[in-house]
Amino acid sequence: MAIGVKVMKRPGTKVSYVRATLQGMALTFRHLFRPKVTMQYPEEKSSQDWTLSPRWRGTHRMLTDEQGRAKCVACGLCPQICPANCIKLVPGEDEAGNRYPLIYEIDEFRCVFCGYCQEVCPEEAIHVGVHYENSEFSRDRFVYDLERLCAQTHPVSTLWDPSDPKGE
């Protein structure tokens, strides 16, 4: 035959075919009865082996004060630092001179979930969330407005703390 196959000189135990086959069959048969590792997703959302990290950066959430108003003071730091340029902010000012966002929208399709907005926020208002179930039926539903950001209830990310790098 034209094709040259390199054949190594190996001891009999290494090249055994029948024994290796039977061992393999025994192994797969034992695995038939092993406990299964599958997590049945919609019913189970976390298991002993798999939980979402508290540092997970998912879709955003805007925290609110006691009166239910967004904590945001429209300082403009988050659209400034956002590398994906996904935050749209139009600041406004009320009679008492308090700044608040007239429009605050985040395009979750543009967002790269870096978490800079949360890090830079002086009021601890905007946060990335520990959350991953975001499916929608249309694209425009992925632009979250202020009302929707405030209505989110999922836990917020703790991000990475340089003074506690391992999260202990």
């Binding site: 035959m1 094709i3 040259g4 196959v5 390199k6 054949v7 009999g12 090249v15 055994s16 075919y17 029948v18 024994r19 086959t21 393999g24 069959m25 192994l27 797969t28 048969f29 695995h31 038939l32 009865f33 092993r34 406990p35 299964k36 590792v37 599958t38 049945q40």
Partner: protein, 387 residues
């Protein structure tokens, strides 16, 4: 005559339905057993334990788009799935699956067509299956499909010979090509099941049967890593599904064949109650259950082996077929024929348990050097070590 026609039509409808439903459930069983072996759960969403998954798959395949490659040979492209599907089902027609059923109009043989030449019919139609695959590969006009088809033809022709040779030994014992007579000879006691007097023939047969059905470790025609999906690359929707059904029907038929030729067919071991008249419906049901149990265990073996063993290399496949299986089958038939001649004509023994045990002892003696040589790994190590 009209009773024969009515009974035949009923048998055809029932057997066809049972095989189709069985094949559907087999696809589910394959996926679930594979999952369990990999510590997963497998499809369990559609219906209880996923039992309706095959129905969902079938529905999906029915409504999917049928693609037809522009450069394909249209007629053969359409014909090929049917050509692989039909022989797979036809073969089952001559396999007896239970004891005869008594009715007010006479006993009904529990076999779709009680052919006197049943065994030859199986060999003939078993070989036809390759046409569907080769034509599918060729008519697709795709180099990978063609390679898959070529491999299929080479592989199936190679192993057909070993398979036929191994079954010659069965015929030597049965003395007849009627499958009913083969089963009758086997059902005298547990040890007259051909797997004992002809263990090595059974070994050759099962290896060849894996190759004939294109199942791992012999699934080179559709080796997805090398050939995308081999001969059925260009097929979609129900035409693809037909190949799938054909593969599983082939498995069912091969399992039924192993049961019939080597494991006593519908014979219930440890009792002779089931093989003698008067026939009763209870006997029919019990033997049918026994036959199904045997076939199902072989189907499990198919799935088990598939999810354990890796695929052979092409030269290993050919080396195993021509350098091991064929000479082995030839030598074995010669030796078994000599042994039967000595026992039957020399010593004047009739075929019974003693006869079978004597042959079994011969098989054990032959098996030791055979498995020693096989285990050295010369066959699978590569064919051109000393080039």
């Amino acid at each position: 005559m009209s009773f024969f026609l009515v009974a035949s039509v009923i048998k055809i409808v029932v057997v066809f339905t049972v095989i189709m439903v069985g094949v559907a459930l087999l696809t589910l069983a394959e996926r679930r057993i594979c999952a369990w072996m990999q510590d997963r759960l497998g499809p369990n969403r559609v219906g209880p334990q996923g039992l309706l998954q095959p129905a969902a798959d079938g529905l999906k395949n029915l409504v999917k788009e049928e693609t037809l490659p522009a450069q394909a040979d249209k007629a053969l492209f359409m014909l090929a799935p049917a050509m692989s599907f039909v022989p797979a089902l036809l073969t089952f027609a001559v396999i007896p699956f239970a004891a005869p059923l008594p009715t007010p109009w006479g006993d009904v043989d529990m076999v779709v067509a009680n052919l006197p030449v049943g065994f030859l019919y199986i060999l003939a139609f078993g070989s036809l299956g390759v046409y569907g695959i080769v034509l599918a590969g060729w008519s697709s006009n795709n180099k990978y499909s063609l390679l898959g088809g070529l491999r299929a033809s080479a592989q199936m022709i190679s192993y057909e010979i070993a398979m036929g040779m191994s079954t010659v030994a069965v015929l030597l014992i049965a003395g007849n090509v009627t499958l009913g007579d083969v089963i009758a000879k086997e059902s005298q006691s547990l040890f007259t099941w051909n797997v004992f007097p002809l263990s090595l023939a059974y070994f050759i047969f099962i290896v060849a049967a894996f190759a004939e059905t294109n199942r791992l470790p012999f699934d080179l025609p559709e080796a997805e890593g090398e050939l995308i999906a081999g001969y059925h690359t260009e097929y979609s929707a129900m035409k693809f599904s037909m190949f799938y059904i054909a593969e599983y029907s082939n498995m069912v038929t091969a399992s039924a064949l192993m049961t019939t030729l080597f494991f006593g067919g519908w014979d219930i071991p440890f009792t002779t109650w089931d093989n003698a008249p008067p026939w009763t419906p209870l006997k029919t049901l019990a033997t049918l259950a026994m036959f199904s149990a045997k076939v199902l265990s072989f189907l499990f073996l198919y799935i088990w082996v598939r999810w354990t063993l890796p695929r052979f290399r092409y030269d290993q496949l050919m080396a195993l077929g021509w350098k091991v299986m064929l000479p082995l089958a030839l030598v074995y038939v010669t030796m078994i024929a000599t042994a039967i001649w000595l026992l039957h004509d020399g010593l004047g023994w009739l075929y019974d348990t003693r006869f079978a045990l004597a042959l079994f002892a011969l098989n054990l003696v032959l098996a030791v050097p055979l498995f020693f040589v096989l285990d050295r790994g010369r066959i699978v190590a590569g064919s051109v070590a000393e080039a």
